[in-house]
Amino acid sequence: MKELQLGEFEEIVLLTVGILHGNAYGVTIRNEIENRLSREVSVGALQTTLRRLEKKGFVKSAHGEGNQARGGRPKLYFTITAHGQKAISSSRETRNALWDALPQLIAKPE
């Protein structure tokens, strides 16, 4: 199970990459997180997290096209891998299991 573990920010980034399905690169991921979670994301934190996820095999990157707004620089698209999907599902299951256990604990003293 250990190789499937995700940090909080890693989970958010991984989910966002999933959400953006096919259009996930630096700017869109950042905007998506900022819009959905209304929190400011620094490029540095995002980029290092993306590299880390890639290294762990949860996402893979692909060279994309450039445009004028980017000063002709290419985009680097990220897509979630099967391994990555397993990781988020596993993360969700762990949470659910924990949540399932919670009401019983609260219920008992009543």
């Binding site: 934190a45 707004a69 620089r73």
Partner: protein, 861 residues
Amino acid sequence: MDQAPSFFRKLLKWFCKPSLHPYLEGDLLEHFQEKAQTHGLKKARCRFAKDVIKLFRPGIIRSFIPTQKLNTFTMLRHTITITARNFKRHTSTFLINLLGLSSGLIAVLFIYLWVNDELNFDKLHETDAQLYQVRLNFAAPNGVNTVVWTPAPLAPAVQGTIPEIALASRLFAGSQNGVVSHQKGPEIRAREVFADRNLFWVFSFGLIEGNIDNIVPDLKSVAISDQLALKLFNTTDKLIGKTIHLDKDDLTGDYLISGVFKAPPGNSSLQFDAVFSMEQLLIKSPQMNQWNYNNPDTYLVLKPGSDPLAVNTKLEALLKSKPQVEISSTLMHKFSDGYLHGTFKNGEVSGGRITYVRLFSGIALIILLIACINFMNLATAQAAKRLKEVGVKKAMGIHRQSLVFQFLTESVILALIALAVALLFVCLFLPGFNTLVGKQLQLTPDLSLIGTLLAITLTTGLLAGSYPALYLSGFKTVALLKGKLKAKTNDLWFRKGLVIFQFATSIVLILSILVVYQQIELIQNKNLGYDRDNVISFPVEGKISNNVDPFLDEVGNLPGVVSATGAAHSILENGSSTRGVNWEGKDPEEFIPFKYISANYNYHSTLNIELKAGRYYSKEFGNEKQSVVINETAVKTIGLENPIGEVISIWGQNRQIIGVVKDFHLESFYEEVKPLFLNLSDRNYDIMLRIQAGAERETIERVRDFYTEYNNGLAFDFKFMDTKYQELYESENRVSTLAQYFAAIAMIISCLGLFGLATFSAERRIKEIGIRKALGASVSSVIGILTGGFAKMVIISIVIALPFSYWLANDWLNGFAYHIELKWWFFALTGISTLLIAMLTIGLRTFQAARAKPTDCLRYE
């Protein structure tokens, strides 16, 4: 299109990993454009800057090392592999190099051990920093005499009156010929001293048992060393309160053991086995306890922080306030300096053994330098064979620093191997070296030794490797690969200079050794006016002390003993000096010191001192108290035509001259002959026997049996006079022998260097040799061509070295009263032999090169 801040774009480009940079910059720019439209340009710029700064984190920042050193270890392994292969491929060069370096290191190691031991001599005492010995200066006709003998009342007088002095202690060694025994057990020699109670506060020899505050509490106390305890009792435990018997003149008697101490180690100048009470000595010899009678040593321990000069002034004032004291000044001399700085001139320290320490440290440095030069020369020469390797590496884009690193690693590895070899040799030959220098040196792996060794080795390796490293890595790649190297004239001169320096140094060493050897030969074989062959001597000890005359009579009658005598002064020492000789017509103001030797009957016949006129003392003439025998110089000094029968006054007593002996040298050849008289006395300290030549062994056995029986089992401890005489020249002998070894090492290393250079030259000119031979040159002419240059270098070094060594030798010889003349053939011999050795070395290599077949030479490439 809005413009993002260019500074931050550049900053990002500078620190960002090149692989990430385009994507990151793209993202940032895109974001910037969006921001500029929604939030305005200012905010967008601000945000851009913030983002760039926040990207400055690990994972994004590139490596700033020019080449990414992912392979440091691999490179090191590669270097080591290459080194090993090179050693294997060029075994002879490797061995020559190893031999040169390790012999250099061996010499340096031995010298380091010796010097270290010398420097630590007498430094074992905890009080060392504050421990001083009082020396007194006396005005004498030929300058100032500095002595360690001080008045016995001095130490008690300074204690308390001079506030800076924490401890004052006296020590009197005297003749150190006591014999002790325990309950009729065997008699054992013990070097006794008489000391104050605080002795072991002043000197930290280590007390095993006893009261350190009061080591000899009363007159009949004795403290003995653990070694003596083992000999007497076979144990060092629970000895306090036991008695031992001392046999020594008027101090003979039983003494109660009050302490046991560790015997002084070899690096202590104070050596003793038993400590008796100073008060006991002063009671037995009350004249010693006067201010005008100088005998014990006085040691002072100052309080920390006090000024020895101020103490010296007070000490001098105190001594000069006593009317009986005739000193000119006092000298507070640090105790531990006494060993290395023990020579005095005009009342000041003028040198001592420190000269030898400096000399050998210098030799060590020179040898190390020669060995390094050798290494450089050989490695540079070998470089010719490795040009291709360097060329290929450079073509592949190696950095110069990596090449330098490679060559330095190589030389350091070689230096480490050489160190290992040297250590092995030092371990093997340390016992031999110890006998040579008369020390007990040990190779104990302490931190300072390891540190010094590593420092020496690494410095040698780096120094030796530096020139080839810089030299090889500096070539142009194309030139390297083409194999067309034009050696710069600078380089050639540098290498030649090194060889010249090497040889000049070796020549100076060789010539010095020749001169030292000749001088020592001269001194040791010089006829001193008496015959010291076949004479044995031993101290007057035990029962003999009170029966000298009967003993001499009996021992003289043993078969094989030609003649027997005794003396109070050894002829090998400087004798005693007196002013008490007067004669008619002598200027009473004139100060003419006479030497005298107190000796027994048969002195002249035992030592074969020739009589010039008259006779020597003889028992046939009954009482000889009114007679005297003088030497030729004395006759001249007094100015007598017909000395026999003349009367002179000695110590206020008229004595008739009955004989004149030929002049003989006292002590050593250094000393000039002075006027002397022989005083008949049966108070003897040494007995001398002349033994029949050819029957030495049996006679000595006979004397031994007789002696042991006479002296209740005391071991017979004798020495041959000629051995004792040679011991006088021990330090010169040792310096000479050591220097011979070191000169040989220097010469070997230099020759190895020359051999290497000859190899280099032969390699470089291989094609030239091939063409010359193809055109019909003979082997000898090729050898001539190859050797010529080297001969020139060796001759240059001879020309440089000879005048310098002449100056050096002259300077050294002037320190002797009698010395050899520097002859032209010393220089000729040194020069020619150096040239010969050098030519032989080169010849070996060039002959091989010259014999090569032209096809082999020219076929290459």
